[in-house]
Amino acid sequence: MTSSFPKQLLFNTLALFGVWLVLSGRYDLFHVVIGFMVACGVAWLNTGFAHSAFHQFPWVRAVLYVPWLFLRVVQSSLHLTKLILSPSLPIRPKLIFYRSHLRHQGAMVMLGNSVTLTPGTITVEVNGSHLLVHTIDEEAGEDLTSGRMEKKIAQVFQEETKDR
């Protein structure tokens, strides 16, 4: 799955040039040509670090994962809003040790980031395949403890998970 050097170079150049086009906002010949030259130069300097996880990343399926995550983020945000605004403050904070079966490094990063992005759960410590997660109450941590989030990410990276 490791892509070749010219392919990586092309990808890097296009990505950098895209960022230039969005951020510069000037489209006369001078600025576009300068931007393209700089993008080529920076991409050439930065390509060739062989095993970067970046280039073995399943971009398409990762993008498909985003809407699901976004829905969960909105739901748990509303749940947390309800918790904060209720007068009795019914929180039950808990530290959970979670052992993940994901093998890909990028998958672990994605799991940790997803957990932290969802309000109500935050990754406190990562050690190999162990996560230490702080949850604000039972319901907020349910996505993680039921293994649903890990299963979704395993689908993205096409790994199998054991049933928990």
Binding site: T118, G120, T123, E125
Partner: protein, 99 residues
């Protein structure tokens, strides 16, 4: 379009206020950081999305969407770094532990 934009911005401000209240009400660093993460997940999202709608289709809309994407990638990192620092410095959360 402008009405929709204003609705989104007001909704975002509501969530920002809730996050501020949460930061004051919750007991310790760990619980408070949950309230803070509410700021960037719904608060900043609604405000920035409202601004993007207000700008209409164009280069500025793209810039705002880039900011939004970066916010969603970077904020978990910052929240995690803060909490890990607190944990390693020996701050004990008010929490039950289990596996």
């Amino acid at each position: 379009m402008t009405v929709l934009a204003v609705v989104f911005i007001l909704l975002g401000l509501f969530f920002l206020v809730v996050a501020a209240i949460g930061t004051l009400r919750l007991p310790d660093v760990f619980a408070r950081s949950h309230a803070v993460s509410l700021t960037d997940s719904l608060g900043a999202f609604c405000v920035l999305f409202g601004l993007a709608l207000y700008q209409g289709f164009g280069i500025n809309m793209f810039k705002i969407l880039v900011v939004l994407a970066l916010l969603f990638l970077l904020n978990p990192v910052i929240a995690h770094a803060t909490l890990r620092a607190a944990y390693r410095a020996g701050v004990k959360p008010q929490a039950e532990e289990n596996s």
